[in-house]
Amino acid sequence: MHLDATSTSSLFVSGGLGALFAACHSHEYSPAEIFRLTILPLILRRLLTAIPTLLGIIILSFLLMRFAPGGPFDGERPLAPETRAALEAAYGLNKGLGTQIWLYLSRLAQGDFGPSLIYRDFTVTELIAQSLPISLLIGGLALLLASVLGISAGLFAAARAGMWQDQALMLTATLLTALPTFVTGPLLALIFGLWLGWLPVSGQGGGGAWLLLPVIALALPVAGAVAKLARAGLAEILGQDHIRAARARGVAPLTILRRHALRPALVPVASYLGPAAAGLLTGAVVIETVFGLPGLGRYFVQGALNRDYPLVLGVVTLYAALIILFNLIADLIYGWLDPRMRDV
């Protein structure tokens, strides 16, 4: 399909997401009916399978942690045997493994993640409550930025398939996906923080400026991947029969793109973004370390290194629950993008 310059650039400006929402109209069924017939059964089925999945993940991580060498009370100087015994008794580590798992699970069922063994003044719930909002904020903004940037760039490239704009964008996208965040993060900090002095490079200052660099560094590789998926998706859809049929009806190129091509083209993007979102939102260790932010990712790594069993289990449980949740959301989005998937 050939698109003229004005239509592609206005598409680019309007942004993939804007057009995406404009394309939404399911006026034939009432929203309540759609929910009852397709969404509710899917959610119920997922919840049913989510519980055993979560249980399995918790038990497996619990056992893996315990079989790893070392323990939470091993330090430079060995503790006196009676101190160690007293500590283990206090945290219930002297009971049988089965009992411990049972106790952990029954506390978890009441919403209690247990005490942290390393940060002894805090419970795991408190640690997560402190750090999760930062991770959610950075991850959420990065997710949004990556989607808008990636989808717009991908659609623009597909509309200019084979031309220099397409090639330049796809080369950039490949570079972005290939560069790890521990390269782009410090590089951005170096350029915009140290050399140009425009943005803070560490910590949380006043206002929102401190967010910019970590969010951009986190979003870039995801944006690259999304751009490639969106471009491939749209290029494939534009060659399909239903697009030719719409052209035969005399539909304008931009309308064809928005009304007939966009939703099916975004299916691969949705399938990638589901699991990627869970990863972004639960804390990026590298970014949090590079920019000195007290997010969840750092606690997770600290906890794992120090054998802080409840902290690691808490984060793993949260992460697994989020993955399950985002896969469910991705499936709901599939169903919206392509009604054929609602029938499975």
Binding site: S26, E28, D241, H242, A245, A248, G250, V251, R263
Partner: protein
């Protein structure tokens, strides 16, 4: 009458290659003109390119209602398409946008020429007009819920929604089965007559053209070979090409070609049943099954061809696959020369050698990365002892290529360098490599155009004579079955409703399904 559409000295080029040369024709309002010819003759390109729907470049003149289309800007061409033209494409399954409901398609179509948004009632009337049952219900449905025939009717309703003066129909029914073809064509021609709408019909179905078109243009390699009244050309073509094309097209009223008398019973299928679990988690949950083949028996003699005919979904392919051991079979036995063949999982290479299949889509059934020689030699690897293979392999490939009338140079080609007919000949050579006693031909010629299909059918007849092959010939084309088969078995809903020799089944059809099929084939 002044013509509505007039193409004069129309030429079509793709990448510097001329694919249609100096074609002139005119269509008056209310007239139906057919473009026919073998595939690659340039019919679709000649029909679509002047309207800006292909990548090709048109030159010459194409006037629609006094406006020159050649050289017109895409923007203006688009508004002409929207206002005056309706298009129907070959593939009903993919021509509707999957995430848009039938109502959304009809609304877009009705508004394309600037018309008012149609009400629910208007749209239901449009669907009723093209013979779709329960139109109210269809409006809220998505395309994937509809069958191929239903989707084609929705596409036709959409093509007509804005009241076009010219309908361009590119093989509008070739993806549908025989009974549906007749219904849809009758409906289209009826609509043309009623509305005074003109139609440019692209088709290779000569029997259909004779019946429905006023005039026929016969194209060969991009040139207009013959044109005139459709019935006259189909009955008495003047050009050699026309004669060859008509001769290759099986007709129910042609003289029965002779066949060799069959020998003793080779294969007997007893009480075959095949079922599949119903799709979707609900069906699977309740353990519901779809009965594809229900307690069917048949026999096949040495050197005999038995045609299995029926509409799509009647179970003919499933039955063929079950007998050949290529698909599942829940009940029944296959007896080969008096001895039962073991179930599919326990058939040895020797058992499998006996029955070899040839499928409908020749290119899809060849590995694109294998050369023709590798493809043909593959069965030898499993079915012949290593010693014989080493010494005979190359010579055997050459001999098999010769047997299917392909030159020996083809051995090094890849499937991408083969035409559809050549690829099907390679697939036949591969089947013969195993030295089978029976062939399972599943719509083996229906993806090919009439001339090529005629050649492949003749080849299969010759091979049957030379090798004494038995053939289970699955087809939806009754006239073709009549031409090649000793006996014809009619399937419907998983049952064989009638089996009879080819000369009696047409003169005295017993089952209702047979009568319907015969009526649909005329």
């Amino acid at each position: 009458m002044t013509p509505l559409y007039q193409a004069s000295h129309l030429c079509i080029d793709i990448g510097g290659k001329r694919i249609a040369d100096n074609i002139s024709f005119a269509i008056a309002p209310g007239e139906i003109v057919a473009l026919a010819g073998a595939s690659g003759a340039g019919k679709s390109m000649s029909a679509m390119t002047p309207f800006g729907l292909t990548h090709a470049i048109a030159s010459g003149s194409a006037m629609l209602a006094g406006q020159q289309l050649i050289g017109m800007a895409e923007k203006d061409l688009r508004s002409i398409r929207a206002a005056q033209l309706g298009f129907i494409f070959q593939q009903p399954l993919t021509a509707l946008t999957p995430h848009r409901t039938v109502a959304a398609h009809l609304t877009e179509a009705a508004c394309q020429a600037g018309g008012a948004r149609p009400s629910h009632k208007d749209m239901a009337a449009m669907l009723a007009n093209v013979g779709l049952s329960r139109p109210e219900e269809r409006l809220a449905q998505y395309p994937h819920r509809l069958s191929g025939g239903e989707r084609q009717r929705v596409l036709i309703a959409a093509a007509l929604a804005h009241g076009p003066s010219l309908l361009i129909a590119d093989e509008p029914v070739s993806a549908l089965d025989a009974a549906l073809r007749r219904d849809v064509m009758a409906m289209l021609t009826g609509l043309c007559r009623d509305r005074g709408m003109a139609m440019l019909l692209v088709s290779h179905d000569l029997a259909g053209i004779e019946q429905y078109a006023d005039r026929l243009l016969l194209l060969q390699d991009g040139r207009l070979i013959e044109s005139g009244a459709a019935a006259v050309i189909v009955q008495k073509p003047r050009s050699d090409y026309g004669k060859a094309l008509m001769a290759a097209t099986p007709r129910l009223d042609e003289a029965l070609p002779p066949l060799l008398a069959p020998g003793a019973i080779l294969l007997e299928a007893r009480n075959i049943s095949v079922h599949f679990p119903k799709a979707g988690w609900r069906g699977g949950w309740r353990g519901e099954n779809l009965q594809a083949v229900d307690n069917v028996s048949l026999t096949l003699a040495k050197g005999e061809t038995l045609a299995l005919v029926g509409g799509s979904g009647s179970g003919k392919s499933t039955l063929g696959r079950a007998i050949a051991g290529l698909g599942p079979m829940q009940a029944g036995t296959v007896i080969w020369q008096g001895k039962p063949l073991p179930p599919r999982a326990r058939r040895t290479a020797e058992h499998r050698r006996l029955i070899q299949p040839v499928f409908q889509d020749p290119l899809a059934s060849l590995d694109p990365r294998w050369s023709v020689a590798q493809t043909i030699a593959e069965p030898l690897r499993w079915l012949l002892p290593a010693a014989e293979r080493g010494t005979m392999g190359g010579a055997l490939v050459t001999k098999l290529l010769e047997e299917v009338d392909l030159p020996a140079e083809f051995a090094t080609r890849k499937p991408a360098a083969l035409s559809g007919g050549q690829a099907q000949r390679v697939a036949i050579a591969r089947a013969l490599a195993a030295d089978p006693q029976m062939l399972l031909l599943d719509e083996a010629t229906s993806a090919l155009d009439p001339l090529v299909a005629g050649g492949v059918t003749a080849l299969l007849g010759r091979l049957q004579k030379e090798r004494g092959l038995s053939v289970l010939f699955i087809t939806h084309d009754l006239a073709l079955a009549r031409r090649v088969a000793h006996r014809i078995a009619v399937m419907e809903n998983g049952h064989i409703v009638e089996t009879a020799p080819r000369d009696t089944i047409f003169s005295a059809p017993q089952a209702e399904a047979t009568r319907r099929l015969i009526a649909a084939s005329h």
